[in-house]
């Protein structure tokens, strides 16, 4: 069980926990946070590979994570703004009731 595999397992676990949160919880904010967790899991992978995998390119993994963090922040901000707008519209945040946008 090399450290790399350990990290990958950790990120997989974190990813699935994020997925469970996103799927199980009905509150929109928590779903968003679940997705944030999944994003973090991805970042975790990047750093793991940067650290343990003898890749040639110097710090692309690190830079990628930096950009990922920034974008995730932007995404979260807009997501939460949407949640607030949704709440104003629907007076509660239960996601299963926000089903107007459907086929």
């Amino acid at each position: 069980m090399s450290p790399l595999q350990g990290c990958l397992l950790l990120s997989a676990a974190l990813f699935s926990v994020g997925l469970v949160i996103a799927l199980a919880r009905s509150n929109a904010i928590l779903v968003l946070l679940g997705i944030e967790l999944m994003l973090n899991a991805a970042n975790l992978n990047f750093i793991a590979f940067w650290r343990f995998h003898s890749g040639a390119a110097p710090a692309t993994g690190v830079i990628f994570v930096l950009f990922a963090i920034a974008v995730a922040a932007a995404e979260a901000a807009v997501g939460l703004a949407l949640v607030i707008a949704l709440y104003r519209h629907q007076k509660n945040l239960r996601l299963q009731e926000a089903t107007r946008l459907r086929g």
Partner: protein, 674 residues
Amino acid sequence: MQLSATHLWMIPALPLLAAAIGSLTPRGGRKLAAGAAIAAMIGAFVLSCGALVTALAQPAVHASANFTWFALGNEVVRVGWLLDPLTAFMAVMVTFVGTLIFIFSLGYMKEDRNFTRFFCFLSLFAAAMLGLLVANSLLLLFVCWELVGLASYLLIGFWFHKPAAAAAAKKAFLTTRIGDLGLLLGLLWLYHVRGSLLCYDGGAGVLEQGSLTALAGTTVAGGFALSTAIGLLIFCGAIGKSGQFPLHVWLPDAMEGPTPVSALIHAATMVAAGVFLVARVYPLMLADQALASVPVHALTVVAGIGAITALLGAAIAVAQNDIKRVLAFSTVSQLGYMMLALGVGSWVAAIFHLLMHAFFKALLFLGAGSVIHAAHHEQDVRRLGGLGRRMKATFATFAVGTMALAGVPFLFSGFWSKEAVLHAAHAWPVSSLPLLVGLAAVVLTAFYMTRLITGIFLGAPRTDAAAEAHENSAVMTGPLLILAACAIGLGFIGTPAWPWLQSNLGGIVVEPESIWEAPGLMLLSIGLVVTGLGAGWAVYGRRRNVNASSVDPLAQAAPGLFAVLAARLGFDEFYAATFGRLNTWVAALADGLDRRVWDSLVSLLARAGEFSGVLNREADEDILNRGFDRTSATVRGVGQTYSRAQAGETHGYLRTVALAFVVFALVLLLGGVR
């Protein structure tokens, strides 16, 4: 002031521009339209003088400037401008007379509501006439020929609300159209043979020696020379346009138009176009003179037609009561004279007579116009009379015109030009018939002119309209005075003693000779003129206590002949009887055919279409639709099932994504992808 051939196009362009301005000005823009028209005519006149100066510099040369009008595949149609003494003299005459008539019509048409439209049509006519003169290509000439016909139709039918005027305009247009058909056939045949319609094209032109010998050389069905056939066909156009024997019926009726129109078109210019055309293609006409085997020479036909028309016109003119009708028939007879002169071989005499006739006939018509204008549109001679004292200027100028027309010796231009024609006829070797006819026509002309002048101006006014007549304003009497001066003065440019016109026109220097060399013919003609005048004065001069309804002395003398002549020898009725009924018969036939034959065919087709439509609907209904409905139903079903998957529940989406991911990953893993 030189105007070379290449700039000739400016002469017709100015009146065309004036016509365009006239057409665009609203009814109120009277001053603008009239001003533009008159300015254009003055400009054209100045340019024509320039052209005349250039032409007279080398009278024998036909200066042409050609260019490609349009190319149709590899067929290139070339047109161009021609400058020679004939064009120049005609252009000066047309522009000078036109300007005077335009000024005259300023007064004449003042009360008319469509004043601007009148001047627009006048400018259009002037442009077309000048275009016809300067054209070097017969095609361009034909185009302007048609435009002139159109202009005459528009001007004759100017007061279209009068049914008579509308009918007259249609009649004029149709009869000239028949003549033009002959002209068109001639041109097409010529184009077919020669491949070009340019008269003078640096040797390759139609009227140049190369093509003339070729045309004369070939003979056609009936033994005619090709040039004779083409020449006669072109002459048909001239017959129609100049109102010669068979197609003269439209000219008297054309008097329905306003008098300046009659003066400009049916006295001076348009009718002269036919004579100009024959003069233009004269080399073609002369081509068959040398051939002996030819059954008839073109010019002989021309002379015959000319003689008949001259005698016919003069005779009918005697029995007419309407001033303008008398002058119209007088024009017909004078044109017969010109054709006669062309026929007997002297186109110079014909053009000389044409130029002189244009001036004094325009004078006579304007005089008549002034009389009509003063007498509140009263045109019947029997209802006028005694206007001499009231309209002194008009009476004086009308008298000058009459004497010029009659050919009073020495002083008046009419005498010299008629003399020239008679000399040519006298010298014609073929037969002396034209000479006799000419002399008879001289007597008749003198007679009916005195009848006319005494009827209008002498004696007492027979109606109150005539009584109230008074002299017109300067704008109408001015042109009369100028034209009278020309009628007198211009004669001297063509006298045998000083043949300036003849030598310049023909390009060959004519030896001046004293008029007393062969005085016989001249003295004879003078005698005939005097007898004519005397007879006229005798019959009509001293009639007293005559009122509007009193019978004409001639009618009393020869009631039958007078009635026939008054009815214009019944040509209208004859044509109506023959061609009119033919036309109606053919129309009825076509209508019947159309109604019964074609109609049934079309309805047959319609029913067939209907039947196939019905067949189509049935088939479509049960075969196609049912199948289509079933398939769309299935598609909607499938769509619904999928849309249920798209239930808008975000959790559902995420769950399906996750499970899909798992499935694919499993496939990858188990599939052994390393």
